[in-house]
């Protein structure tokens, strides 16, 4: 059975002004990602994987071509519509965790739900569930500074997953972690992908991540050079 694509791009181009000219970061990207994938954009630094991830995550817009995510044309979204799309359907995981340092683990995970204006009871239930998924229910009152790198990244995963998003964008999520923590994190994400069906799209050049991917899209100099299901 053919599943409908969550993400679809046609002749997507992105260039940035550099000096008097322009630098093309992405060239003719044609891509489809369907629901439930555990896919990685793989390539060396400067290959354009983060740029593509940012566009698909509605953090940036294409210069030419089209990117449609969850039936929304990214290039045509207003700031507010893009924010709403991110808030309701996307989760983000960053290399540097980017937790808000003055808030507790519970409050960091709760934050996306506050933006969705859920009731206290709904928020409480969802936060505890998300922390249970990542095995951090005993760290609810801790601040990020009191946690290890692996624990911080698990909080970031809980924050991304708490609203049960359709797609999680993860940009080099294991780059700051040791091998053991990397595997723990990846297993957690894989489990969430299997159990909840959330689509994961990685930007990575970390071999540890690549071994977990079910689909590898290789980029080089802004072009897709290989796309294979593993």
């Amino acid at each position: 059975m053919n599943k409908k694509a969550l993400i679809s791009t046609q002749q997507l181009i992105k260039h940035y002004p550099v000096g008097g000219g322009k630098f093309t970061a992405l060239k003719d990207i044609n891509l489809n990602v369907i629901s439930g994938e555990f896919t990685g954009l793989v390539g060396p630094s400067g290959s354009g994987k983060t740029t593509l991830l940012n566009i698909l995550g509605a953090l940036d817009v294409p210069s030419e071509g089209n990117a449609v995510v969850l039936d929304h044309s990214i290039g045509n979204l207003s700031h507010k519509q893009a924010a709403n799309l991110r808030n309701m359907y996307f989760g983000f995981i960053f290399q540097t965790y980017n937790l808000l340092p003055v808030y507790t683990v519970y409050e960091n995970v709760e934050f996306p739900l506050l933006l969705q204006k859920l009731s206290h009871t709904e928020r409480d239930k969802a936060v505890k569930q998300a922390l249970e998924w990542v095995g951090l229910t005993d760290k609810i009152k801790s601040r990020p500074a009191q946690l290890s790198g692996g624990e911080c990244q698990r909080v970031a995963i809980a924050r991304a997953m708490v609203k049960v998003p359709k797609i999680v964008f993860a940009d080099e999520p294991t780059a700051n972690l040791d091998a053991e923590n990397s595997h723990n994190i990846l297993q957690t994400m894989l489990k969430l992908n299997n159990d909840i069906g959330t689509t994961f799209l990685f930007a990575t050049h970390d071999e540890k991540v690549i071994t977990y991917l079910r689909r590898k899209i290789s980029l080089n100099d802004g072009e897709i050079v290989d796309d294979k299901v593993i």
Binding site: N54, L59, D60, K80, A83, F94, P101, V102, F111, L115
Partner: protein, 421 residues
């Protein structure tokens, strides 16, 4: 959401304690400066009002036109009637008769022959009436250097310096040679009851003070006075003074040079321009200070917002709209501004209330001929309570608004890159 943001502000000292401290210091300085400037200029005005001009004064047109010559031939007459009308029309103003006169002081020897003479500036005030406020108003009790205050008609106070120059003591006879309001010679003997020292060379060089009734007798000024000085319950207020003056002068129909006219301090040839200058100067001083404080606090607001680029990036990625982030930062800065302004105003008022007691500059001003007080003090006015809120809130919010525009105009992905950097 507000509770969430509030938690963040309270826990992050960079967002709460430090900005509040900076705002508080700026606001406190503004409050102290405003109260000091207001107090000093107010004191100068009040000092002149007490000794010389009143807050408002009534005199004849002829007297007003030649005021530098102290022209008692233009004295105000029919006093009882004028005072009754003034009391009826302006019940919250206290009216005092004052006579100024020039003359020669003659000190006789034991044979009644002139021992020594000197020119004097005479001031006649109500010293002997039971309810007179003049002794307190001019601080004559406090200024008494030797002897005692006059207790009966025919007694005179001399400035201490003048008495020393004439080499006379309490109990000695002093003859004043002057001219009556009709131009004839006036000669009267007084007994020196004591000496006074005001700490101002203008008053201490050659002043003599007698009771108003004695002056009226001596100068043939029955039911007449040089001027009627009006004093408000509180300090001088230009708006109130202008209203009173306009109301009083509007009732006058005669252009006769002996008809009464009312003037405020602002109408005084010298003090008027001083007040105008003082008001502009204090306004400029406070404006410059507010401007400097505004720049400092704006910068603080700007830095506060710039150091939160990372946080802004995360919040954008999570799905918070730019407008919402911008608004929440402005709300935060308003909260910081209000808290800082309240704290700063309280601190500023504490310092200002210490300065209300005043700083004595008497030693420095010993030889000045200006009519000015020897103690400068701060004055706490209604304005003191709110002036700090102008730089406190306005500048902090302005800083956040300007830095927020930077965030607002930046591409989301750029903020995101800065977040990752």
């Amino acid at each position: 959401m507000i509770k969430f943001l509030l938690k963040g502000i309270l826990r992050d000292h960079h967002r709460s304690l430090f900005p509040v401290m900076i705002v508080s210091i700026g606001v406190a300085l503004t409050v102290v400066l405003q109260s000091w400037v207001t107090g000093v200029f107010g004191d100068l005005t009040e000092f002149s009002a007490k000794f010389n001009t009143g807050h408002v004064r009534v005199m004849t047109k002829g007297y007003a036109e030649n005021i530098d010559q102290i022209p008692n031939d233009y004295a105000l007459t029919d006093l009882d009637n004028i005072i009754n009308n003034l009391n009826k029309d302006f019940p919250d103003v206290t009216w005092e008769k004052r006579i100024k006169f020039g003359g020669l002081i003659d000190i006789p020897d034991e044979n009644g022959e002139t021992k020594i003479q000197g020119p004097a500036v005479g001031l006649a005030i109500d010293m002997l009436s039971k309810n007179s406020a003049e002794l307190d108003r001019l601080k004559i009790r406090k200024s008494l250097k030797e002897g005692k205050l006059p207790t009966k008609p025919g007694e005179i106070l001399l400035s201490n310096q003048f008495a020393n120059k004439l080499n006379i003591q309490s109990g000695d006879i002093v003859t004043i040679i002057s001219s009556t309001m009709y131009g004839s010679m006036a000669i009267n003997n007084f007994i020196m009851s004591g000496t006074v020292e005001f700490g101002s060379a203008a008053m201490d060089n050659g002043a003599v003070i007698i009771d108003i009734a004695d002056a009226q007798n001596m100068l043939d000024m029955d039911d007449a006075t040089s001027e009627l000085l009006g004093y408000f319950t509180h300090n001088y207020n230009q708006i109130k003074a202008t209203k009173i003056v306009n109301k009083y002068n509007a009732t006058l129909k005669s252009d006769d040079e002996f008809s009464p006219i009312m003037q405020s301090i602002a109408d005084d040839r010298f003090l008027g321009s001083y007040i105008e200058y003082a008001e502009s100067f204090s306004g400029i001083m406070i404006f410059i200070f507010l401007l400097i404080m505004s720049v400092v606090l704006w910068n603080s607001g700007l830095l506060g917002a710039l150091r939160r680029y990372g946080e802004v990036g995360v919040r954008l990625a999570i799905g918070e709209a730019k407008g919402h982030i911008y608004l929440s930062m402005i709300v935060e800065s308003i909260m910081i501004g209000i808290i800082g302004s309240i704290v700063g105003t309280i601190i500023g008022l504490c310092f200002a209330s210490l300065l209300v007691k005043g700083i004595d500059i008497g030693a420095i001003m010993k030889n000045t001929t200006m009519m000015m007080p020897s103690v400068f003090r701060a004055q706490i006015t209604v304005e003191t309570f709110y002036i700090g809120f102008i730089p406190g809130i306005f500048s902090t919010v302005l800083g956040t608004i300007l830095s927020g525009i930077g965030i607002y105009k930046r591409q989301t992905a750029e903020l995101f890159k800065e977040l990752e950097a």
